[in-house]
Symmetry: C2
Subunit: 232 residues, 2 copies
């Protein structure tokens, strides 16, 4: 029986004892009702209970440590901590090894998020935010520097995220920013005079000052019109 090359049934990279140990540890935390702050057994005990060597346990614990699930201190042992929900993604996005398909999907998520910002902006915006946006829009009108315009575009949208005051969201946006730089470059490209008119940052800002969430949603939709036209 011959094996088809490139078959969808690739030989799964062998599941190592470390993989299993990591999974068993996570299951163990849940089944034992562990809570944040609780202390774990010693490495040797864990190794003994799982029937593996200390090396394996340490590799597994090292993974959990990276995710911020545990905090290990000499002599004191290991304690459970509140993990950083974005830690893994941050490392991955920094690497910039994602394929085109995934990037496309992430960009779609980004568009959805910005379309949903409205409800939160009007509840949380303050004068400081408005001043910052004012400054950005004013400089956009004055400058002729293309690179600067791109920078200002990024900052404008980043500021919108900031207004929500949602740290998870803000950090997520910061992580995506460098990845979608090229999209913004492209966006700046088509913003040439002569292109069809659209809702500008100035328009969005006016709505933030005098409008409401509903009008902001529609404006945002128009502001992103070009991106939505590319949806397949």
């Amino acid at each position: 029986m011959s094996k088809t090359a490139g078959s969808p049934l690739n030989p799964i990279s062998s599941i190592t004892m470390t993989d299993q140990a990591e999974q068993r540890l996570r299951e163990y935390f849940i089944s034992q009702g562990y809570k944040i702050g609780d202390a774990l057994p010693k490495e040797i005990e864990l190794a003994s209970e799982l029937g593996v060597s200390r090396s394996v346990i340490r590799e597994a614990l090292s993974r959990l440590r990276m995710l911020g699930m545990i905090d290990v201190r000499k002599r004191r042992g290991t304690i459970l901590t509140e993990p950083d929900v974005l830690s893994g993604m941050e490392r991955i996005l920094e690497l910039n090894f994602l394929g085109k398909e995934t990037l496309k999907r992430l960009f779609e998520v980004r568009l959805m998020l910005e379309m949903g910002l409205g409800e939160f902006l009007f509840n949380r915006i303050d004068d400081q935010h408005l001043q910052k946006l004012d400054g950005i829009v004013k400089e956009e009108e004055l400058t002729g520097d293309k690179a600067r315009l791109i920078q200002l575009d990024i900052t404008f949208h980043a500021t919108l995220y900031e207004i929500t005051g949602n740290p998870v969201l803000i950090r997520f946006q910061e992580m995506l920013q460098p990845i979608f730089q090229y999209v913004l470059d492209y966006r700046a490209e088509i913003h040439q005079p002569g292109t069809a008119p659209e809702v500008t940052h100035q328009d969005l800002l006016d709505i933030l000052k005098n409008g409401n969430a509903a009008s902001f949603r529609e404006a945002m939709k128009n502001h992103f019109e070009h991106h939505f036209q590319l949806i397949t």
Copy 2:
């Protein structure tokens, strides 16, 4: 000088050589212009170059392996692979160790996403989806079982995500689902007859059939009205 208890300046858990090795490896991938499919040097060589033992390198590689950045095979060595952007978050959400603040922020993100779904739904919905939603809505009208209603509510919204055909988004929603079960319970609670009328699933479905993205956005906003009222 006494140390304030619970001070914001907690002693940072010592940065181990494994932590450094992991970071150095990621930087190394970037600086050396590695691409997916490229092979890494042997563990011993990496250890030698970083001046650490093989154990330390293996703990670092084990972390990268968990994120799907590398694929290690016996004898063949390690090759770079496209990482799974959600792998880390998936493990963390499964654990359910997140604090109230983070959960609140994640729920806000979820609300934003659903508010932004509209543009994508109308481009990608097909008859199969409509039939599924029809079935859900019909059963919602018939059943009196509260638990079943909650289940149907979850399924309705999950189906909306499915329609986008965005795997990253769909998986993200699936990951969050068990975490926000309690929110849905609460939502079902306030959906008692007598409560203020609002946009129902039937209404949303009608819009998906005959409406457009703009009307869907407004409908979604009304559907979530109660949640938005809780925004501070």
